[in-house]
C-alpha cells in the first residue's frame, strides 16, 4: 500500500465526515457533540464546546436563523431539532465562560471598523490570537444592528453581558468614531498593520472603489481582502439592503480573521480553505430504524428552554454517524474503531522499520467475507485491504510464522498422498464431469461424499470422475501466493489427466476459489445440479418444518446459487426462514480468512452472534458453516443431511469433528473409496498411523484447542520409543517426551498399556531448544 492508496482508502471511509448540521452551519458548530453533552446534563461542557465556534452564544442562541436545521436528519421523524434554543440553553445554564487565559503576543496591531457581529467576531478572534486590536464604532454603544432587535428577542443586558469578553481580551474600544475612506482610514493604515471593515448595511459608499477584491462569500474561496492589500471587509456591508443572516456575519468575521492572520504572517490566503462555510457533508447515516419522536417546543421564546426541556430535546439528536460496516461486523467492532483508522494502522504496520507490529492481528483476523463493502455507501472493502496487506507481509518476510501455519499444514495434508485422489469413475476411462467435494466436506461428513458421488453417477452422469483435495483457499487467505501456485499446478496436472471436464463443486469456498483463481476451470455448483432434479428431490420429501437458511459468505455474489439452494430446501418440504442478513449481505460463520485460527475468541463471537438470529434449526450448504454453528450448540444441518439422513434430529446436534478427526476422516475416505470403488488397497502397514492411541474426549478437546494432531503425537512417541530420549516417572509409570516437528516442538505425556499408548497431555512451543548433539528434526 503506498501513500496515495492510503489517502484514497481513508477518503473512502466517511465516518469522520461532519454531521449534516455542522456542515450546514457557516461556522461549523459541533452540534452533535453539543447535543450529546446537553443530553448528559453537562451544560458547562456543552457551552465550552459551543464557544469554540461561537463567541457570543447568548446572542446567537436567540437570533440565529439556523441554516443547520434544514440539514438535520431528524426532519423526517419528528422534525429538525431546535438547535438555536439548545445553544441558548448552554449560555443560560452553562457556567464555563471562557477565560482570556494566556495568549501569544504578536506585536502587530489590527483595527476593526464597525462593532456589529462580523466586526465583533473578527476582533475577538484576532485578540485571541495575540494581536493588539482596536475596535471603532460610530455610535455610542457597541453592537451595530444587534441593537435593532426588540428587547423580547434580544435583551440589551444580554448583549452587554456577552460583550464583556472584549475587555477580558484587552480589546480597545473607541465609540463615537466613524471611520470612512475619506476620514480616518488613511491615518489608521499608518498606525496599524491591517484593517477589517464591518460597517454593515448601507455603508458601501463610505468606502468607494475599495470593496472589489476577493470578497464574495459565494466564491469558492473567499479571502475577504479588498482591492487594497491589508484591508479586509465582510458582513452585511457586502450585501446592500438584502437581509443578511446574523450567523453569516459571524462566519464572515471568523473567515476574515483567518485571512488577516495569514496576511500578517505572510502565509497563503487561499491554501486549505475549501471547506470553509456551508457545504454538504458526505456523511451517510442510516435512518431506517429511527423511531419518530415528539420534539420539545419552546413555549415562551423570551424564556427559552428550561434545563429539563433542553436535556429532553438534545436526547432526540440522532448523533449522526455512518458505521454501517462496523454495525454488521464483529471483527470491525472488536478492534474498537472504523476502517478509516484501520487502513492507517495497517499502513503504519506495513511501513514500520523498527519496533512492535501491533496490527498483525488486525490484518490477519479479518474473515475476508466482503460484507463491509456490501453495506458501505462507498464500497470500501476491508477484504481487499487485509488480503493485500497479508501478501505484503509475506513478501517482506514479516508474516509471523505462527499466523496461519496449522491451516496451511492441513491444506498440505489434504493435497498429500494420504488424502488426495483423482480418478475417472470406476470402470471408465473418460470423465464428462468431475465431482469436487472439497476437503472440509470430506473432513466433516465423508459418508456424504460417498453418497453424493454415487447419486451423481446414477442420476446425473455415469462418467463423473472424482477429485479429493483442497482448493487452495487457506493459501489464498494466508497471502501465500507461492503455496497457492503450487496447489494450482498440482491440481492442473491431475485435472488435465482427467481431460479437464467441468467440476461439480459442493463447497461454496472451493467454488469461489476455483472461479477466481483457476482460469480455464469450468465449475457447476452441486446445488445447481441437484436443484435441476426436482423429481428426485420430491421422492426424498419427508419434512414439513421451518428451517433458517444460512448463505455461505463465499456465495455473496452468486444469486442463482441462492435461488437453487432455496428451491432444493423447499422441494424437500421445508419452509425457509430468511435470516436478517442473507444472500449478498450474508455473514461469515467465523471460518473465512482463517479468522478461526488467528483469533478463535473473535470467531466464537461471530458464531454466537449469527446463531442467535433465528430460533429455527439452521441449514447451510457449507460443511464448515454447519460445524461452526454446531460447535456453539446451535442445531444445524448441512443440505446433504436433508438429502441423506433419516434421523435429522440427532444429525442436527452432531458434534463438530476436531482437527485430528477431520484429517482421519479425509484419510479414511480415500482408503474406503479406493477399496470399495476401485478395488485397491493402498494402506501402508508400516505407517506410524498404526501406532494405537487412547485419548479421552476431555484430553482430545485440549489437543484440538492446541492444534496438536494425533499424527504429531505418534511422531513424538515413535521417536521417544526408538531412542529412549524421554523422561520417566517411576511413581506413575508415565513418560514425557518431545520431538521437534516441522511446525512446532511437541511434548507428550503418555503411558504404554496393552499395546496402545494412553495420552494424558500434550503441549507445544515454537522456540527451539538449542542442543548440540541430538538432531531431532523430523
Amino acid at each position: 500500500m503506498d501513500q496515495h492508496t492510503l489517502k484514497e482508502l481513508e477518503d473512502t471511509c466517511i465516518q469522520e465526515c461532519a454531521p449534516p448540521c455542522s456542515a450546514g452551519c457557516p461556522v461549523h458548530v459541533d452540534v452533535r457533540s453539543l447535543n450529546a453533552l446537553i443530553a448528559e446534563g453537562d451544560f458547562s461542557a456543552a457551552l465550552k464546546c459551543l464557544l469554540k465556534k461561537i463567541p457570543f452564544p447568548g446572542i446567537i442562541g436567540r437570533i440565529c436563523d439556523q441554516s443547520c436545521r434544514s440539514a438535520c436528519n431528524r426532519s423526517a421523524s419528528g422534525g429538525a431539532l431546535s438547535i438555536a434554543a439548545l445553544e441558548r440553553a448552554c449560555a443560560d445554564f452553562g457556567d464555563n465562560r471562557m477565560k482570556a487565559g494566556h495568549r501569544p503576543r504578536r506585536n502587530k496591531k489590527v483595527s476593526v471598523i464597525g462593532s456589529g457581529l462580523s466586526g465583533l467576531t473578527t476582533a475577538v478572534d484576532l485578540a485571541k490570537k495575540g494581536y493588539e486590536v482596536t475596535l471603532f464604532e460610530k455610535n455610542t454603544v457597541l453592537g451595530g444592528k444587534l441593537r435593532a432587535f426588540t428587547p423580547e428577542v434580544l435583551p440589551p443586558d444580554i448583549i452587554d453581558r456577552e460583550l464583556s469578553i472584549l475587555s477580558e481580551l484587552n480589546i480597545t474600544v473607541r465609540l463615537n468614531e466613524k471611520v470612512t475612506a475619506r476620514s480616518g482610514l488613511k491615518s489608521l493604515l499608518g498606525s496599524c498593520d491591517a484593517v477589517y471593515i464591518g460597517t454593515g448595511t448601507g455603508s458601501e459608499s463610505d468606502f468607494p472603489n475599495l470593496l472589489t477584491g476577493n470578497m464574495h462569500p459565494a466564491e469558492e474561496i473567499c479571502t475577504y481582502m479588498t482591492s487594497t492589500p491589508g484591508i479586509f471587509a465582510g458582513g452585511s456591508l457586502l450585501y446592500g439592503y438584502r437581509p443578511y443572516p446574523p450567523i453569516h456575519s459571524v462566519a464572515d468575521g471568523r473567515h476574515a480573521a483567518t485571512s488577516l492572520d495569514r496576511y500578517l504572517q505572510g502565509a497563503s490566503l487561499t491554501a486549505s480553505r475549501s471547506q470553509e462555510g456551508v457545504y454538504t457533508s458526505r456523511l451517510y447515516t442510516n435512518l431506517e430504524q429511527v423511531a419518530p419522536c415528539t420534539l420539545v417546543t419552546v413555549d415562551d421564546p423570551a424564556a427559552g428552554y428550561s434545563r429539563e426541556e433542553a436535556l429532553q430535546e438534545a436526547q432526540h439528536c440522532l448523533q449522526c454517524q455512518c458505521l454501517e460496516c462496523v454495525k454488521v461486523c464483529s471483527y470491525l467492532k472488536q478492534h474498537g474503531s472504523y476502517p478509516k483508522k484501520y487502513v492507517r494502522e495497517i499502513y503504519n504496520n506495513l511501513s514500520i522499520v523498527m519496533g512492535a507490529r501491533k496490527s498483525n492481528k488486525l490484518i490477519n483476523s479479518c474473515s475476508l467475507c466482503g460484507l463491509c463493502a456490501e453495506v458501505c455507501p462507498n464500497r470500501l472493502n476491508m477484504e481487499e485491504v487485509c488480503s493485500t496487506a497479508r501478501r505484503t507481509m509475506v513478501d517482506q518476510n514479516r508474516m509471523p510464522p505462527s499466523a496461519h501455519d496449522f491451516p496451511l499444514q492441513d491444506m498440505h495434508f489434504s493435497n498429500g498422498a494420504q488424502c488426495e485422489l483423482s480418478r475417472h469413475a470406476p470402470g471408465t476411462n473418460k470423465s464428462d464431469y468431475i465431482f469436487f467435494p472439497g476437503c472440509q466436506l470430506s473432513a466433516s461428513a465423508p459418508e456424504h461424499v460417498e453418497k453424493t458421488y454415487a447419486l451423481l453417477r446414477t442420476t446425473f452422469s455415469e462418467n463423473t470422475g472424482l477429485m479429493l483435495r483442497c482448493c487452495g483457499a487457506p493459501a489464498d487467505w494466508a497471502g501465500r501466493d507461492d503455496l497457492l501456485s503450487n496447489a494450482r499446478d498440482d491440481f492442473n496436472r491431475r485435472y488435465s489427466e482427467l481431460g479437464r471436464p467441468p467440476l461439480i463443486v459442493a463447497c461454496p469456498s472451493c467454488q469461489r476459489m476455483l472461479s477466481s483463481h483457476f482460469p480455464d476451470v469450468k465449475t457447476i455448483s452441486l446445488w445447481e445440479v441437484l436443484a435441476s432434479d426436482s423429481i428426485q428431490l420430491a421422492q426424498k420429501k419427508s419434512a414439513s418444518s421451518t428451517v433458517a437458511l444460512h448463505d455461505s459468505c463465499a456465495t455473496r455474489h452468486d444469486s442463482a446459487l441462492h435461488e437453487n439452494v432455496r428451491s432444493i430446501v423447499t422441494d424437500l418440504g421445508y419452509t425457509v426462514q430468511e435470516l436478517p442478513l442473507n444472500r449478498e449481505k450474508t455473514e461469515c460463520c467465523g471460518y473465512g480468512g482463517l479468522m478461526w485460527f488467528v483469533d478463535p475468541g473473535l470467531s466464537t463471537t461471530v458464531i454466537d452472534n449469527r446463531i442467535k438470529q433465528a430460533p429455527e434449526e439452521y441449514v447451510t450448504y457449507c460443511s464448515v458453516c454447519r460445524d461452526f454453528f454446531a460447535s456453539r450448540g446451535k442445531r444445524a444441518l448441512h443440505m446433504l443431511d436433508l438429502l441423506f439422513e433419516e434421523d435429522r434430529d440427532s444429525r442436527a446436534s452432531r458434534r463438530a469433528p476436531g482437527s485430528s478427526l477431520r484429517q482421519k476422516n479425509r484419510r479414511q475416505l480415500k482408503t474406503r473409496l479406493l477399496i470399495n470403488l476401485w478395488g485397491e488397497n493402498a494402506a501402508d502397514p508400516k505407517s506410524t498411523i498404526n501406532i494405537r492411541l487412547s485419548i479421552t474426549p476431555e484430553t482430545q478437546e485440549i489437543l484440538d484447542q492446541r492444534y496438536i494432531l494425533d499424527q504429531d503425537i505418534r511422531d513424538v512417541i515413535e521417536y521417544a520409543e526408538k531412542t529412549g530420549r524421554k523422561f520417566t516417572n517411576p511413581d506413575t509409570g508415565r513418560f514425557l517426551a518431545y520431538r521437534k516437528l516441522k511446525r512446532i516442538t511437541c511434548w507428550v505425556e503418555y503411558a504404554c498399556r496393552n499395546a496402545e499408548y494412553v495420552i494424558y497431555n500434550a503441549y507445544s512451543h515454537r522456540m527451539e531448544i538449542v542442543e548440540e548433539n541430538h538432531d531431532q528434526q523430523e
Partner: protein
Amino acid sequence: MTNKNDSGWMCHNCRRPLQTAKVDIAYLGSAFPVELFQCTTCGLVLIPEELATGRMAEAEKILEDK
C-alpha cells in the same frame, strides 16, 4: 524455579534425577538462556507445560511481532 526437581521426572535412558541448568532457547534469530531442568548426563531438557503455554508463548508472540 528451585534447583531440585520435585515433578517426579527422571531421565529414562540415564536413570538420573534432573538438575537446573542454563539452557539456550532460540526463536527467529534470537537466543535466550533459560534456567531449566536437565539430565546432567545426556543433557535432555525438560520444558514444563506452564512454561510452554505461558511465558514462552508470550515471548514467541513478541518476537513474531517485532
